[in-house]
Symmetry: C2
Subunit: 142 residues, 2 copies
DNA sequence: TCGCTTATCTTGACTCGTTCAAGATCTCAT
DNA sequence: ATGAGATCTTGAACGAGTCAAGATAAGCGA
């Protein structure tokens, strides 16, 4: 499990061969502080840090971070894309059917869950993504 | 495993307490014949059957069919919604990273795969959805 | 079989999340 | 310090899906 070191977004970017810019530092910090936030929330957060950033820049930054492997993108059905800084491990997500809240779930069966399919339809599989659906503690009550 | 009986979409609809209409019969048949098709393909298919159906009707029909449990909706990240008539069993999907092709995968671990999470974050989980990512036989070659 | 009620379908506008494109600006290697 | 090129800004555009109002037709009861 790898946790982002806020204090040093700069070195993370450098290590990934990405130019160090204000938008990138801000978005990186926001993603780390707000797991599973969507673009809108991240953009707002980045704006409170910097005063002003274009929405497009936030999209661009997120693309860079994702393809550099610093950030992971998830997209549960019916929800806009969400981002998290927890990368490199094989954890999954629970999504609330009511409110859309997302939480992390460690995989019970190890690091490559359900990856041995008897019938893989001839596909060369490299990832198994598990999404659990249900009710979050809050919506469960109502 | 339950397979749609085309010849008798009518009785399926009746059994589900849905009015039997031309658009519904057409879409139902299309979904059964084209597993994992998206709205666009289904609408086109329905049109070759009926001559003319509004896109909105296709959306409405699919909503009805899905909430009646006659059709299942899946939505892999980055793809429009897709529909299939295979319902009632717990099978999963492989999605090709290149071309987006989708295939069925029977779950290796039985009917409720990976459903025992050690840490469920307090959620009341009722479904575990597994999506495998990789390359389809075709894209694998290129 | 005929109406009547109401679910369903048509049409057309509109939203949301995201991408595209062109030019301005900033990073950082030299 | 400077130039090349990556990154950001602005503004238009797109695809998937929804909303809303009125027209149509399914299927109930008579």
């Amino acid at each position: 499990m790898r946790i982002v070191d806020f204090a040093d977004g700069t070195s993370m970017l450098r290590a990934a061969n990405l130019r160090v810019t204000q938008p990138r530092l801000a978005v990186l910090a926001e993603v780390a502080e707000n797991p599973h936030a969507d673009v809108d929330q991240l953009a707002r957060g980045a704006r409170t840090r910097l005063g002003k950033v274009s929405t497009q820049a936030v999209y661009d930054v997120l693309h860079s971070l994702v393809s550099a492997g610093l950030v992971r993108r998830i997209e549960p059905a019916g929800s806009p894309a969400r981002f998290e800084a927890r990368v490199g491990d094989n954890h999954h997500h629970v999504v609330c059917r009511e409110c859309g809240a997302v939480a992390d779930v460690d995989c019970a069966t190890g690091s490559a869950p359900c990856l041995d399919t008897s019938n893989d339809a001839g596909y060369l599989i490299d990832e198994a993504e598990v999404t659990y659906w249900g009710l979050c503690p809050r919506c469960r009550r109502d």
